[in-house]
């Protein structure tokens, strides 16, 4: 069905059948499996008072349940379906070999409480991944304990706090964060007990140096910086920022959400960062649509190595043995066991498959792809900061809002009709009606060209037929959702109708 076709009655009926919940498909007595007669005498398992009277199970045939889940899976959208330019999330293609490796029985069927001698291979993977990440990012050491980026930020802030405390600098209570940062940055700093001061960006999208100077005092504990920033721009003030933070005795924390832009080109550790986290699920591939599972590695400079969260894997050359240890001044554990081990295996497999040359190619292609989109779309969409971008580009839909009453939301919803996942919207907060596009390195020129031509078409639709955008999407099982109603009155599960 194309967007201008009006759905007929038959089509609507078919759609409403497909959307029926499993419980609503149930017919009394219908059955999908025949269970053999029990030859064991029937026994009461639980006292009656604990048994629920109403616990309906769906009664459906095998073919019905197979269709139900197949249909559900087709409602889904993933990077395996089509282009997914969700800025700041690095939705790159996840090579299938990573899944193959992670599901090898020797890696997927082991338990973290097994004796160390029986899981030497798994520990070796963790050990080598620690070293590979430290090498790629230019740091002394790595902990793979955090389960995701925000938890790695918290670990970094707890390290900062322990470091100052250990030095007797308990007056260092202030963390500076730029106004383009991810919201998790201030949340992590506050959770670790710090006060947060927001630093504005200047007109070029860099950290405002004058504001930074004014905010730096003796109570400075550190600064959290995303490099490149969430505007997709390399903060060219980095050397100056680094010097000022260090001179005041502060820790420079790097949010590695945008590490994809730097891989193989710049090592943040050599730039002067003391801590960097990497969202392994973004940069080093792991299917993570819908929020997980993630993995947050944290890399630190030499002076902070003793504070890393445990467990860390170490290797003894003499005994040829891998074992787990907790650093001397460790901030402790971030969770149970060794983080999300399956995600770590995928990251390891990805790095090993690509090798040094392949890793170098990532940032190159990611940056070229984003700039290709930028140069092809900047005459159609407003570019708030006119600079060469890094791995993602931020446009603004504010002109469309002013002249056509069309918002970033409407443009994003219309993209769904063209089979493309919407970009990140309304972030960073400092850009009005932001549309943040991150193509990643894995997309072909043909895909980028299709995206560009779709966006140009939408730009002209916005002027000629704005209603088409306001009511989009038209080609999906559900059209425009009432997000406000969903947030106010969530309806999350099937309930028996009386």
């Amino acid at each position: 069905m194309n967007s201008h076709q009006i759905p007929n009655e038959h089509h609507i009926k078919q759609q409403s059948l497909i959307r029926k919940l499993l419980m609503d498909r149930s017919q009394p007595g219908r059955i999908g499996a025949h269970i053999p007669q029990s030859d064991v005498p029937k026994q009461q398992q639980l006292p009656n008072k604990y048994l629920r009277k109403e616990l309906p199970l769906p009664e459906v045939s095998e073919s019905e349940i197979v269709r139900y889940f197949s249909q559900l899976s087709q409602f889904n959208f993933s990077i395996d379906h089509n282009f997914y330019p969700l800025g700041s999330c690095t939705m790159k293609y996840n090579p299938k070999i990573n899944d193959e490796i992670a599901s090898l029985p020797g890696l997927s069927e082991i338990h973290p409480l097994q004796p160390e001698e029986s899981i030497q291979g798994a520990l070796k993977i963790i050990f080598e991944l620690q070293n590979l990440l430290a090498e790629i990012t230019g740091f002394d050491s790595t902990s793979l304990a955090p389960m995701a980026g925000a938890e790695a930020e918290l670990a970094g802030m707890l390290i900062t706090r322990s470091f100052h405390k250990n030095n007797g600098d308990t007056h260092k209570t202030k963390i500076l964060i730029t106004d383009s940062a991810h919201g998790t940055n201030p949340a992590s700093a506050v959770m670790a007990g710090f006060d947060v001061i927001s630093i504005p960006s200047d007109k070029n999208g860099n950290t405002d140096i004058e504001a930074l100077k004014a905010a730096i005092n003796d109570d400075l504990a550190g600064l959290m910086l995303t490099q490149p920033s969430t505007l997709g721009l390399f903060d060219t003030n980095i050397i100056e920022i680094c010097k000022r933070v260090k001179d005041a005795g502060g820790i420079l924390y790097g949010d590695g959400a945008n590490l994809n832009a730097l891989l193989g080109r710049i090592k943040p550790g050599e730039l002067g960062f003391d801590i960097l986290h990497s969202n392994l699920h973004k940069t080093f591939t792991q299917p993570h649509g819908g929020g997980g599972p993630g993995a947050g590695a944290i890399m630190v400079s030499k002076k902070l190595t003793p504070y890393l969260p445990s467990p860390i894997v170490q290797y003894s050359k003499d005994e040829d043995f891998y074992s787990i240890y907790t650093p001397k001044k460790s901030i402790g554990r971030m969770g149970g066991f060794h983080g999300n081990f399956g995600a770590l295996v995928r990251a390891y497999s990805y790095i090993k498959t690509l090798g040094k040359e392949g890793i170098d190619q990532i940032s190159k292609n990611a940056v070229i792809n984003a700039n290709y989109i930028k140069s092809n779309l900047e005459e159609y969409f407003e570019l708030p900061i006119k600079r060469i971008c890094m791995h993602e580009v931020v446009f603004s839909a504010s002109n469309f809002k002013k002249h056509n009453g069309i918002k970033a939301l409407d443009i994003s919803k219309r993209l769904i009709d063209y089979g493309i996942h919407p970009p990140t919207m309304y972030f960073p907060l400092i850009i009005d009606e932001a549309l943040m596009i991150e193509p990643t390195e894995t997309e072909s020129k043909e895909t980028l060209d299709y995206f560009i031509s779709s966006m140009i078409k939408i730009a002209s639709e916005a002027k000629q037929d704005p209603e088409l955008l306001r009511n989009a999407p038209h080609n999906t099982p559900n059209s425009r959702l009432d997000e406000a109603l969903a947030a106010r009155k969530p309806n999350l599960r099937w309930q028996k109708k009386d």
Partner: protein, 130 residues
């Protein structure tokens, strides 16, 4: 009829409307409510608590983001608009009237001098410095 002519405005897009000599209503402007998008949750302090000029007093959550509410004046809260808390869509439909947030007894009416009148607020919006 809305009384936007009589209101005072802050650069954080809140308005103040004097009801008597020292009792005022506080709310957010249409510009703020339009920009927030559909509002799903409003958190207000209890009546009896005090608010300070240009300091945070509550939060507002829309489908886009969570934003802070800053009080345009200092004073003691006499009443909160419970219907906005129950039905946040009122804020989108009627930000200048039914969507008022707090009724406040002013501590110092001279603080109103720190705010803008309608004309100044409109040119502030025009300037794009918001």
């Amino acid at each position: 009829m809305s009384k936007t002519q009589e209101m005072y405005y802050s650069d954080e897009h809140e308005w103040v409307l004097m009801e008597t000599d020292n009792i005022a209503l506080i709310g957010i402007t249409k510009f703020a409510s339009d920009n927030l998008g559909d509002i799903v949750f409003v958190e207000l302090p209890d009546s009896g608590t005090t608010v300070n000029q240009f300091e945070q007093f509550g939060e507002i959550e829309s489908v886009k983001a969570v934003s802070e509410l800053y009080s345009p004046i200092s004073g003691t809260i006499k009443e909160i608009n419970d219907s906005v808390v129950q039905n946040p869509e009122i804020l989108s439909e009627s930000p200048f009237e039914k969507g008022w947030l707090l009724k406040v007894e002013l501590k110092d009416t001279s603080e109103l001098d720190n705010l803008m009148n309608l004309e100044a607020y409109e040119s502030f919006l025009e300037s794009g410095k918001n």
